[in-house]
């Protein structure tokens, strides 16, 4: 089965709004959680990550929330901008092997 699931294949947000990207996982052993960003025809790059001993982490406009009991991991982007338009991939890991979700296409309209 799919260990890491992004249930929304796409999301559209108005400029200035909050983008909320969600990820669900199955494996209790995951101890590392990350969001990668990918533009078309480019390679993925790391946006933000947390270890399993952290419930929340903020970095500028980005905030990640980790709900271990619910096996849920989310990324909130405040003051969304058109340049945030990209594919966002959640990823989880244990013992070095990173497993990615299918990705959510975020479109931020001016």
């Amino acid at each position: 089965g799919q260990q890491v699931k992004q249930s929304s294949p796409s999301l559209t947000v108005q400029e200035g709004g909050i983008s909320i990207l969600n990820c669900d996982y199955e494996n209790d052993m995951f101890d590392y959680f990350a969001w990668y960003k990918k533009y078309p025809d480019n390679s993925p790059t790391l946006l933000i990550s947390v270890r399993s001993n952290v419930d929340k982490r903020e970095d500028g406009r980005l905030t990640v929330f980790l709900n271990k009991s619910g096996k849920h991991f989310s990324l909130h982007i405040t003051a969304s901008q058109p340049e945030d338009t990209a594919v966002y991939l959640c990823a989880e890991a244990n013992t070095g092997k990173l497993t990615f979700g299918h990705g959510t296409i975020l479109r931020v309209h001016p």
Partner: protein, 114 residues
């Protein structure tokens, strides 16, 4: 910034063909990975390696072989290419310890199997 270089950037072959995709990283990373990216599937791990001579099986290994000849070089081999292997292939590397899970990706190789 970690440097991961893939070659070729584009490749076209026929069904049954033999293809080798190359990846080199110049940051002394121990871990290297091969992923494929397909619409509706995201990134799927094919093979990975902890170091020279080591090979680990990923989530979608069927039809692929890999070899890590040095710490810098990781190759993906398709000995009998099939149209289902048409995809965008990414190589990635990562370091040890706390940085182990931060992957640095190459630019990708687009493979078409006709």
């Amino acid at each position: 910034e970690a440097a991961v270089t893939q070659s070729p950037r584009n490749k076209v072959t026929v069904t049954g063909g033999n293809v080798t995709l190359s990846c080199r990283q110049t940051n002394s990373h121990n871990y290297m990975y091969w992923y494929r990216q397909d619409t509706g599937h995201g990134l799927r791990l094919i093979h990975y390696s902890y170091g020279a001579g080591n090979l680990q099986i990923g989530d979608v290994p069927d039809g692929y072989k890999a070899t890590r000849t040095t710490q810098e070089d990781f190759f993906l081999l398709l000995e009998l290419a099939s149209p289902s292997q048409t995809s965008l292939y990414f190589c990635a590397s990562s370091g040890l310890g706390g940085s182990q899970n931060t992957l640095y990706f190459g630019a990708g190789t687009r493979l078409s199997v006709l």
